[in-house]
Protein backbone atom coordinates (compact mmCIF):
# COMPACT_ATOMS: atom_id res chain seq x y z
CA UNK A 1 0.00 0.00 0.00
CA UNK A 2 1.06 3.59 -0.58
CA UNK A 3 1.55 5.90 2.39
CA UNK A 4 2.15 9.59 3.17
CA UNK A 5 5.53 9.75 4.87
CA UNK A 6 6.08 13.47 5.38
CA UNK A 7 4.93 16.97 4.56
CA UNK A 8 6.96 19.94 3.37
CA UNK A 9 5.92 23.59 3.27
CA UNK A 10 7.90 26.23 1.44
CA UNK A 11 7.50 29.58 -0.28
CA UNK A 12 7.98 29.50 -4.06
CA UNK A 13 9.28 33.01 -4.90
CA UNK A 14 10.34 33.26 -8.59
CA UNK A 15 13.46 35.30 -7.71
CA UNK A 16 14.73 32.25 -5.75
CA UNK A 17 14.58 30.21 -8.94
CA UNK A 18 16.39 32.95 -10.84
CA UNK A 19 19.11 33.09 -8.14
CA UNK A 20 19.65 29.32 -8.44
CA UNK A 21 19.61 29.33 -12.24
CA UNK A 22 22.03 32.26 -12.45
CA UNK A 23 24.47 30.89 -9.87
CA UNK A 24 23.85 33.65 -7.31
CA UNK A 25 23.14 31.50 -4.26
CA UNK A 26 26.43 32.41 -2.55
CA UNK A 27 25.89 36.17 -2.92
CA UNK A 28 25.42 38.11 0.32
CA UNK A 29 21.74 38.79 -0.43
CA UNK A 30 20.87 35.13 -1.03
CA UNK A 31 23.32 33.13 1.12
CA UNK A 32 21.25 33.29 4.37
CA UNK A 33 18.19 32.03 2.54
CA UNK A 34 19.91 29.07 0.91
CA UNK A 35 21.68 28.21 4.18
CA UNK A 36 18.20 27.62 5.61
CA UNK A 37 17.59 24.89 3.04
CA UNK A 38 20.90 23.00 3.38
CA UNK A 39 19.47 20.72 6.05
CA UNK A 40 16.41 20.20 3.83
CA UNK A 41 18.45 18.97 0.87
CA UNK A 42 20.26 16.47 3.10
CA UNK A 43 16.94 15.29 4.56
CA UNK A 44 15.49 14.99 1.05
CA UNK A 45 18.41 12.81 -0.09
CA UNK A 46 17.97 10.56 2.93
CA UNK A 47 14.16 10.39 2.77
CA UNK A 48 13.52 10.70 -0.94
CA UNK A 49 10.00 9.40 -1.62
CA UNK A 50 8.72 7.77 -4.79
CA UNK A 51 6.19 10.51 -5.44
CA UNK A 52 5.51 14.07 -4.28
CA UNK A 53 1.98 15.46 -4.44
CA UNK A 54 2.94 19.11 -4.92
CA UNK A 55 0.26 21.64 -4.03
CA UNK A 56 0.95 24.95 -5.75
CA UNK A 57 -0.71 27.69 -7.73
CA UNK A 58 -0.28 28.67 -11.33
CA UNK A 59 0.56 32.38 -11.82
CA UNK A 60 -1.27 33.24 -15.07
CA UNK A 61 0.91 30.77 -16.92
CA UNK A 62 -1.01 27.64 -17.92
CA UNK A 63 -4.34 28.88 -16.58
CA UNK A 64 -5.68 32.26 -17.66
CA UNK A 65 -9.08 33.90 -17.23
CA UNK A 66 -10.84 31.59 -19.73
CA UNK A 67 -11.05 28.63 -17.35
CA UNK A 68 -10.37 28.92 -13.60
CA UNK A 69 -10.44 25.60 -11.75
CA UNK A 70 -10.51 25.82 -7.95
CA UNK A 71 -8.68 22.49 -7.54
CA UNK A 72 -6.89 20.78 -10.46
CA UNK A 73 -4.78 17.60 -10.52
CA UNK A 74 -2.16 16.87 -13.18
CA UNK A 75 -2.56 13.33 -14.51
CA UNK A 76 -0.06 13.52 -17.40
CA UNK A 77 3.17 11.54 -17.80
CA UNK A 78 5.31 14.67 -18.14
CA UNK A 79 5.03 18.35 -17.27
CA UNK A 80 7.33 20.80 -19.06
CA UNK A 81 8.78 23.84 -17.25
CA UNK A 82 6.75 26.78 -18.58
CA UNK A 83 7.95 29.83 -20.46
CA UNK A 84 6.70 32.58 -18.13
CA UNK A 85 7.81 35.35 -20.44
CA UNK A 86 11.56 35.10 -19.84
CA UNK A 87 12.00 31.62 -21.39
CA UNK A 88 11.56 28.35 -19.44
CA UNK A 89 13.73 27.73 -16.35
CA UNK A 90 16.70 25.47 -17.18
CA UNK A 91 15.41 22.61 -15.02
CA UNK A 92 14.49 19.01 -15.89
CA UNK A 93 11.09 18.03 -17.23
CA UNK A 94 8.85 16.93 -14.36
CA UNK A 95 7.86 13.27 -14.52
CA UNK A 96 4.33 12.61 -13.33
CA UNK A 97 2.67 9.49 -11.94
CA UNK A 98 -0.48 9.07 -14.07
CA UNK A 99 -1.67 5.88 -12.30
CA UNK A 100 -1.52 7.35 -8.79
CA UNK A 101 -2.85 10.73 -9.99
CA UNK A 102 -5.87 9.13 -11.66
CA UNK A 103 -6.47 7.01 -8.59
CA UNK A 104 -6.33 10.10 -6.35
CA UNK A 105 -8.70 11.97 -8.68
CA UNK A 106 -11.29 9.19 -8.58
CA UNK A 107 -11.00 8.69 -4.83
CA UNK A 108 -11.11 12.38 -3.95
CA UNK A 109 -14.07 13.10 -6.24
CA UNK A 110 -15.90 10.20 -4.61
CA UNK A 111 -15.14 11.94 -1.28
CA UNK A 112 -17.04 15.02 -2.56
CA UNK A 113 -14.10 17.17 -3.71
CA UNK A 114 -14.79 17.98 -7.35
CA UNK A 115 -11.32 18.12 -8.88
CA UNK A 116 -10.57 19.28 -12.41
CA UNK A 117 -8.49 16.70 -14.32
CA UNK A 118 -5.61 18.19 -16.33
CA UNK A 119 -3.87 16.03 -18.92
CA UNK A 120 -1.68 18.70 -20.48
CA UNK A 121 0.06 21.22 -18.22
CA UNK A 122 3.22 23.30 -18.28
CA UNK A 123 4.40 24.02 -14.73
CA UNK A 124 5.65 27.44 -13.60
CA UNK A 125 7.90 28.63 -10.76
CA UNK A 126 5.20 27.77 -8.23
CA UNK A 127 6.06 24.11 -8.77
CA UNK A 128 9.68 24.14 -9.93
CA UNK A 129 11.16 26.50 -7.29
CA UNK A 130 10.24 24.17 -4.38
CA UNK A 131 11.78 21.24 -6.31
CA UNK A 132 14.99 23.25 -6.80
CA UNK A 133 15.10 24.23 -3.12
CA UNK A 134 14.76 20.63 -1.90
CA UNK A 135 16.58 18.76 -4.70
CA UNK A 136 19.26 21.20 -5.91
CA UNK A 137 20.21 21.16 -9.58
CA UNK A 138 20.11 17.52 -10.75
CA UNK A 139 19.95 16.54 -14.45
CA UNK A 140 16.79 14.60 -13.60
CA UNK A 141 14.42 15.15 -10.66
CA UNK A 142 14.81 12.32 -8.11
CA UNK A 143 11.03 11.97 -7.61
CA UNK A 144 7.89 11.73 -9.64
CA UNK A 145 5.56 14.67 -9.05
CA UNK A 146 1.80 15.02 -9.16
CA UNK A 147 0.99 18.73 -9.63
CA UNK A 148 -2.03 19.83 -7.61
CA UNK A 149 -3.06 23.36 -8.58
CA UNK A 150 -5.23 25.59 -6.38
CA UNK A 151 -6.83 28.84 -7.49
CA UNK A 152 -5.53 31.67 -5.32
CA UNK A 153 -5.56 34.31 -8.07
CA UNK A 154 -9.29 34.98 -8.42
CA UNK A 155 -11.01 35.80 -5.12
CA UNK A 156 -12.38 33.85 -3.37
CA UNK A 157 -10.01 30.92 -3.20
CA UNK A 158 -11.34 27.83 -1.40
CA UNK A 159 -11.67 28.26 2.37
CA UNK A 160 -8.94 27.12 4.72
CA UNK A 161 -11.41 24.67 6.22
CA UNK A 162 -12.05 23.13 2.81
CA UNK A 163 -8.32 22.91 2.09
CA UNK A 164 -7.64 21.18 5.40
CA UNK A 165 -10.41 18.63 4.77
CA UNK A 166 -9.12 18.08 1.23
CA UNK A 167 -5.73 17.14 2.70
CA UNK A 168 -7.39 14.40 4.74
CA UNK A 169 -9.18 13.16 1.60
CA UNK A 170 -5.85 13.09 -0.27
CA UNK A 171 -4.35 10.98 2.49
CA UNK A 172 -7.21 8.47 2.29
CA UNK A 173 -6.79 8.39 -1.49
CA UNK A 174 -3.04 7.68 -1.26
CA UNK A 175 -3.54 5.00 1.41
CA UNK A 176 -6.01 3.16 -0.82
CA UNK A 177 -3.51 2.80 -3.69
CA UNK A 178 -2.26 -0.78 -4.00
CA UNK A 179 1.36 -0.20 -5.03
CA UNK A 180 3.99 0.10 -2.32
CA UNK A 181 4.91 3.79 -2.61
CA UNK A 182 6.34 6.42 -0.28
CA UNK A 183 4.50 9.67 -0.94
CA UNK A 184 5.23 13.14 0.41
CA UNK A 185 2.85 16.05 0.23
CA UNK A 186 4.19 19.56 -0.24
CA UNK A 187 2.29 22.80 0.31
CA UNK A 188 3.84 25.87 -1.29
CA UNK A 189 3.45 29.67 -1.57
CA UNK A 190 3.40 32.42 1.05
CA UNK A 191 4.35 33.59 3.53
CA UNK A 192 3.28 37.21 4.06
CA UNK A 193 3.67 39.29 0.92
CA UNK A 194 1.80 41.78 -1.18
CA UNK A 195 2.87 42.40 -4.75
CA UNK A 196 0.35 45.03 -5.78
CA UNK A 197 -0.81 48.56 -5.04
CA UNK A 198 0.45 51.21 -2.61
CA UNK A 199 0.66 48.61 0.19
CA UNK A 200 3.12 46.39 -1.75
CA UNK A 201 6.02 45.14 0.36
CA UNK A 202 3.93 44.22 3.39
CA UNK A 203 5.63 41.68 5.66
CA UNK A 204 4.19 40.45 8.98
CA UNK A 205 6.74 38.42 10.89
CA UNK A 206 4.59 38.14 14.01
CA UNK A 207 1.60 36.76 12.12
CA UNK A 208 3.79 34.40 10.05
CA UNK A 209 5.40 33.05 13.22
CA UNK A 210 2.00 32.34 14.75
CA UNK A 211 0.89 30.68 11.52
CA UNK A 212 3.91 28.34 11.63
CA UNK A 213 3.29 27.54 15.32
CA UNK A 214 -0.39 26.82 14.80
CA UNK A 215 0.13 24.85 11.59
CA UNK A 216 2.28 22.45 13.60
CA UNK A 217 0.27 22.18 16.80
CA UNK A 218 -3.25 23.48 16.21
CA UNK A 219 -4.10 23.09 12.52
CA UNK A 220 -7.84 22.41 13.03
CA UNK A 221 -8.28 25.82 14.61
CA UNK A 222 -5.92 27.54 12.15
CA UNK A 223 -8.02 26.19 9.29
CA UNK A 224 -10.96 28.28 10.55
CA UNK A 225 -9.09 31.55 9.84
CA UNK A 226 -11.23 33.71 7.53
CA UNK A 227 -9.80 34.92 4.24
CA UNK A 228 -10.09 38.54 5.38
CA UNK A 229 -7.48 37.94 8.08
CA UNK A 230 -4.97 36.58 5.52
CA UNK A 231 -5.55 39.61 3.27
CA UNK A 232 -5.21 42.12 6.10
CA UNK A 233 -2.38 40.51 8.04
CA UNK A 234 -0.38 38.59 5.41
CA UNK A 235 -1.09 40.76 2.35
CA UNK A 236 -3.13 40.12 -0.76
CA UNK A 237 -0.75 37.41 -2.02
CA UNK A 238 -0.28 35.91 1.47
CA UNK A 239 -3.58 34.10 0.88
CA UNK A 240 -1.42 31.45 -0.86
CA UNK A 241 -0.88 30.06 2.65
CA UNK A 242 -4.18 28.19 2.45
CA UNK A 243 -2.25 25.67 0.32
CA UNK A 244 -0.15 24.77 3.36
CA UNK A 245 -3.36 23.60 5.05
CA UNK A 246 -3.88 20.97 2.34
CA UNK A 247 -0.43 19.58 3.16
CA UNK A 248 -1.13 19.68 6.90
CA UNK A 249 -4.53 18.03 6.49
CA UNK A 250 -2.83 15.03 4.87
CA UNK A 251 -0.64 14.44 7.96
CA UNK A 252 -1.51 13.06 11.38
CA UNK A 253 -2.83 15.36 14.10
CA UNK A 254 0.51 15.00 15.91
CA UNK A 255 3.63 15.69 13.90
CA UNK A 256 7.35 15.93 14.53
CA UNK A 257 9.06 19.09 13.27
CA UNK A 258 12.19 17.98 11.43
CA UNK A 259 13.11 21.47 10.27
CA UNK A 260 11.78 25.02 10.52
CA UNK A 261 13.11 28.13 8.82
CA UNK A 262 11.98 31.72 8.29
CA UNK A 263 13.70 34.50 6.38
CA UNK A 264 12.94 38.03 5.18
CA UNK A 265 13.22 39.05 2.37
CA UNK A 266 13.32 37.17 -0.89
CA UNK A 267 12.53 40.00 -3.29
CA UNK A 268 9.06 41.10 -2.00
CA UNK A 269 8.31 38.09 0.17
CA UNK A 270 8.77 36.46 3.56
CA UNK A 271 10.07 32.92 3.11
CA UNK A 272 8.82 30.17 5.42
CA UNK A 273 9.73 26.50 5.39
CA UNK A 274 8.75 23.42 7.41
CA UNK A 275 9.49 19.72 7.20
CA UNK A 276 7.00 17.66 9.20
CA UNK A 277 6.83 13.91 9.78
CA UNK A 278 3.87 12.04 11.23
CA UNK A 279 4.44 11.43 14.95
CA UNK A 280 3.88 7.87 16.16
Amino acid sequence: MARITAGVATSHVPAIGAAIDQGKTAEAYWAPLFAGFERSRTWMREHCPDVVVLVYNDHATSFNLDIIPTFAIGCAEHFAPADEGWGPRPVPVVEGHPELASHIAQSVIEQDFDLTIVNRLDVDHGLTVPLSLLCGQPTQWPVRVIPFAVNVVLYPPPSGRRCFALGAALRRAVESFDDDLDVQIWGTGGMSHQLQGPRAGLINRRWDTQFLDRLISDPDDLAQTPHLEYLQEAGSEGIELIMWLIMRGALSRRVRTVHRFYHVPASNTAVGHLILENAP
Binding site: P14, A15, H59, A60, T61, N64, L65, D66, D83, E84, G85, W86, V153, L154, Y155, P156, S192, Q194, L195, Q196, G197, P198, R199, A200, G201, L202, I203, N204, R205, W207, H227, L228, L231, Q232, E233, G235, S236, E237, V264, P265, S267, N268, A270
Partner: protein, 129 residues
Amino acid sequence: MPLEKPYLNIPGTTIFDADQLRKGYHLNQFCMSLMKAENRERFKRDEAGYLAAWPMTAEQRQAVLDRNYNRMIETGGNIYFLAKIFATDGKSFQYAAALMTGMSQQNYANMMLNGGRAPAGDQSVEGPR
Protein backbone atom coordinates in the same frame (compact mmCIF):
# COMPACT_ATOMS: atom_id res chain seq x y z
CA MET B 1 -29.27 39.54 0.54
CA PRO B 2 -26.12 41.01 -1.09
CA LEU B 3 -22.75 39.31 -0.68
CA GLU B 4 -20.55 40.80 2.02
CA LYS B 5 -17.29 42.17 0.65
CA PRO B 6 -15.30 43.45 3.64
CA TYR B 7 -12.08 43.04 1.64
CA LEU B 8 -13.00 46.19 -0.33
CA ASN B 9 -11.91 48.28 2.67
CA ILE B 10 -8.26 47.29 2.90
CA PRO B 11 -6.18 50.41 2.16
CA GLY B 12 -3.78 50.32 -0.77
CA THR B 13 -5.11 46.93 -1.81
CA THR B 14 -7.42 45.81 -4.60
CA ILE B 15 -8.70 42.27 -4.36
CA PHE B 16 -9.17 40.58 -7.73
CA ASP B 17 -12.72 39.29 -7.42
CA ALA B 18 -15.44 38.50 -9.96
CA ASP B 19 -16.33 42.20 -10.35
CA GLN B 20 -12.72 43.09 -11.14
CA LEU B 21 -12.45 40.10 -13.46
CA ARG B 22 -15.43 41.30 -15.50
CA LYS B 23 -13.90 44.77 -15.88
CA GLY B 24 -10.43 43.46 -16.61
CA TYR B 25 -10.97 40.34 -18.69
CA HIS B 26 -9.64 41.76 -21.98
CA LEU B 27 -6.85 43.75 -20.29
CA ASN B 28 -5.60 40.59 -18.60
CA GLN B 29 -5.95 38.43 -21.71
CA PHE B 30 -3.97 41.05 -23.65
CA CYS B 31 -1.24 40.55 -21.02
CA MET B 32 -1.37 36.78 -21.57
CA SER B 33 -0.70 37.33 -25.27
CA LEU B 34 2.73 38.70 -24.28
CA MET B 35 3.75 35.19 -23.22
CA LYS B 36 4.68 34.64 -26.89
CA ALA B 37 7.99 36.14 -28.05
CA GLU B 38 6.58 37.14 -31.45
CA ASN B 39 3.74 39.07 -29.76
CA ARG B 40 6.20 40.83 -27.45
CA GLU B 41 8.10 42.00 -30.53
CA ARG B 42 4.91 43.21 -32.26
CA PHE B 43 3.83 45.04 -29.09
CA LYS B 44 7.21 46.74 -28.70
CA ARG B 45 7.19 47.89 -32.33
CA ASP B 46 3.74 49.54 -32.10
CA GLU B 47 2.17 49.53 -28.63
CA ALA B 48 -0.91 51.59 -29.49
CA GLY B 49 -1.56 49.59 -32.65
CA TYR B 50 -1.23 46.31 -30.78
CA LEU B 51 -3.57 47.48 -28.01
CA ALA B 52 -6.16 48.66 -30.53
CA ALA B 53 -6.83 45.02 -31.46
CA TRP B 54 -8.07 44.28 -27.92
CA PRO B 55 -11.58 45.37 -26.82
CA MET B 56 -10.32 47.33 -23.81
CA THR B 57 -11.48 50.73 -22.56
CA ALA B 58 -9.56 53.86 -23.57
CA GLU B 59 -8.60 54.28 -19.90
CA GLN B 60 -7.12 50.78 -19.78
CA ARG B 61 -5.16 51.33 -23.01
CA GLN B 62 -3.78 54.62 -21.72
CA ALA B 63 -2.82 53.01 -18.39
CA VAL B 64 -0.83 50.36 -20.29
CA LEU B 65 0.91 52.97 -22.45
CA ASP B 66 1.73 54.98 -19.28
CA ARG B 67 2.79 51.83 -17.38
CA ASN B 68 0.46 53.04 -14.64
CA TYR B 69 0.07 49.74 -12.80
CA ASN B 70 -2.15 51.12 -10.05
CA ARG B 71 -4.58 52.38 -12.71
CA MET B 72 -4.44 49.02 -14.49
CA ILE B 73 -5.28 47.27 -11.21
CA GLU B 74 -8.09 49.70 -10.49
CA THR B 75 -9.61 48.99 -13.92
CA GLY B 76 -9.50 45.21 -13.50
CA GLY B 77 -5.89 44.15 -14.02
CA ASN B 78 -4.40 41.38 -11.90
CA ILE B 79 -0.77 41.60 -10.90
CA TYR B 80 0.20 38.13 -12.17
CA PHE B 81 -1.14 39.09 -15.60
CA LEU B 82 0.32 42.61 -15.51
CA ALA B 83 3.69 40.97 -14.78
CA LYS B 84 3.80 40.02 -18.47
CA ILE B 85 4.02 43.74 -19.32
CA PHE B 86 6.96 44.54 -17.06
CA ALA B 87 8.64 41.29 -18.09
CA THR B 88 8.35 42.49 -21.70
CA ASP B 89 10.04 45.72 -20.56
CA GLY B 90 12.79 43.66 -18.93
CA LYS B 91 11.79 44.84 -15.44
CA SER B 92 11.57 42.85 -12.20
CA PHE B 93 8.71 42.32 -9.77
CA GLN B 94 10.57 44.48 -7.28
CA TYR B 95 10.78 47.31 -9.83
CA ALA B 96 7.01 47.15 -10.40
CA ALA B 97 6.23 46.88 -6.70
CA ALA B 98 8.35 49.95 -5.94
CA LEU B 99 6.61 51.87 -8.73
CA MET B 100 3.16 51.06 -7.29
CA THR B 101 4.15 52.27 -3.83
CA GLY B 102 5.55 55.55 -5.18
CA MET B 103 8.97 54.79 -3.67
CA SER B 104 12.28 54.70 -5.52
CA GLN B 105 13.45 51.17 -6.25
CA GLN B 106 16.42 51.68 -3.91
CA ASN B 107 14.25 52.88 -1.02
CA TYR B 108 11.82 50.04 -1.60
CA ALA B 109 14.63 47.47 -1.69
CA ASN B 110 16.01 48.92 1.57
CA MET B 111 12.58 48.71 3.18
CA MET B 112 12.43 45.00 2.25
CA LEU B 113 15.94 44.39 3.62
CA ASN B 114 14.82 46.01 6.86
CA GLY B 115 11.93 43.60 7.25
CA GLY B 116 9.35 44.98 4.83
CA ARG B 117 6.37 47.27 5.26
CA ALA B 118 5.01 47.03 8.80
CA PRO B 119 1.39 45.89 8.88
CA ALA B 120 0.32 48.37 11.58
CA GLY B 121 -2.05 51.03 10.32
CA ASP B 122 -2.32 49.39 6.92
CA GLN B 123 -5.32 47.20 7.69
CA SER B 124 -9.02 47.69 7.12
CA VAL B 125 -10.66 51.03 7.66
CA GLU B 126 -14.12 50.92 9.17
CA GLY B 127 -17.27 51.32 7.14
CA PRO B 128 -18.08 51.10 3.45
CA ARG B 129 -15.80 52.51 0.80
